[in-house]
Symmetry: C2
Subunit: 257 residues, 2 copies
């Protein structure tokens, strides 16, 4: 039914962290690259959108991560639009290893932004028709990130840099993820891996903005971290991640084989 698109690629070292694993921030860049190639193949490339004065924006990601790909690993990314309604389209990405084992599943929610007013507009049927996604009147109720605990949060400040801004003239989504995660300690980050994550993008961060990234932790079956990115006290993004220790992950990998 839905039009599927696949792309394979090797992971270059410069998209990886000190543990030789693809970073979440760079995973998101790879996904967007694949979804742009999908759209271009269907005649819905950037120029088609620009001519209509509209542009896709991402409102939400939900990640299920069995294992992050490693440097030099060959992966396949498959994507398809699952469903749309008057305001949103929903796209799924599946990342697989070279033996066809699924490593990551990502669900993304997109909306159309009017380039001038920078407001969300109704999705014209002609724009989404080639993706062969299901039309549904119903707008999905999606789980939101958990609110941060202000009693025990920690925070870091960031200034928007020149190279954070992408061709849409706002901060690239992958940079929000870098701010979200950098707020955690290096010790925690080197010894833990993300299994599940929800990120919502609430507002555009722009040139010259001063950003505060806040995080609080809680144990609820798994270790969870709740995050919030603020500019002038207003939320621009929120996230909740579930983590496991690396050592447990390694043990599980051993059992899977």
């Amino acid at each position: 039914m839905n039009h599927h698109y696949k792309q394979t690629q090797a992971i270059p070292y410069y998209l990886c962290d000190r543990n030789h694993q693809l970073t979440l921030s760079m995973l998101v860049n790879l996904l967007i690259e694949v979804s742009e190639n999908h759209s271009a193949g269907l005649g819905r490339e950037e120029t088609y959108m620009n001519e209509r004065g509209i542009s896709w924006i991402i409102l939400r990601y939900e990640f299920d991560i069995k294992r992050m790909p490693e440097a030099k690993e060959e992966i396949e990314i498959e994507t398809f639009a699952t469903e749309y309604n008057k305001l949103f389209t929903y796209r799924t990405f599946i990342v697989r290893d070279d033996k066809n084992n699924p490593l990551i599943e990502v669900k993304a929610t997109f909306a159309l932004m009017d380039y001038k007013s920078r407001k969300i507009v109704r999705i014209p049927a002609v724009v989404v028709e080639p993706y062969e996604a299901l039309f549904s009147k119903r707008i999905r109720r999606e789980i939101k990130p958990h609110e941060i605990d202000r009693e025990q949060m920690s925070e870091k400040n960031y200034t928007v840099r020149y190279f954070d801004i992408d061709t849409n003239q706002h901060v690239n989504n992958s940079k929000y993820i870098e701010w979200l995660l950098d707020c955690l300690s290096p010790t925690f980050l080197t010894t833990h891996e993300i299994n599940h994550g929800i990120i919502t993008f609430d507002k555009e961060v722009k040139e010259g903005n001063e950003v505060t990234s806040r995080v609080s932790k809680r144990i609820d079956d798994k270790i969870q971290t709740d995050h919030r990115i603020d500019v002038d006290g207003i939320s621009h993004a929120k996230a909740t991640f579930k983590w496991t220790e690396n050592i447990i992950k390694e043990f599980n990998n051993g059992n899977d084989q």
Copy 2:
């Protein structure tokens, strides 16, 4: 004579700036990826080096840039080691467009670092032999970046982030370049392009370091910027770039065709 290695690739959007051009920082990442693949093909991959407790470090880049590749453009990167002496090896990279026109030439100076002492060591012949580079007793005299003018410099401060650190446990060279350039104004950066650059890496920047990036401008035939990256007042990198305005570049491009 020298063993040559070539690799082609399309430029993904996420390695580009707001002007849809590959960033200098990401160019350097692409070059290192290609030189690692070259080394791996000659049996001199990371594991070979790790077993000997040594690792290549980059001391200097010199860039000649006719035009930066654009998003989606297909490029070819060719590389070869030109020459070595007891302490340094010299490698050339040539970036070409899909019609075989040279766009960029980069000369890089490498040295071997002992992984434990983090000091530069003598290069064993066996390590460099497969590259078929010329041995020369003479150590090249290389042009250094111009000193900054402290009377009229501007500066910005940066804190090392978790994802700045690479698999060598120090800040990746591409991050120095981001700090060097981010210190210039967004207006200058959007309207100017680099034609020539020299960067020297003097010391490793590490986890937790607070970095100051300083820049001063001078007009000397072309617009030139001189840069310095300091930690605790000690230089960790220096650079000099020569610039032209975008509009002149566009005019020249038109004439070339």
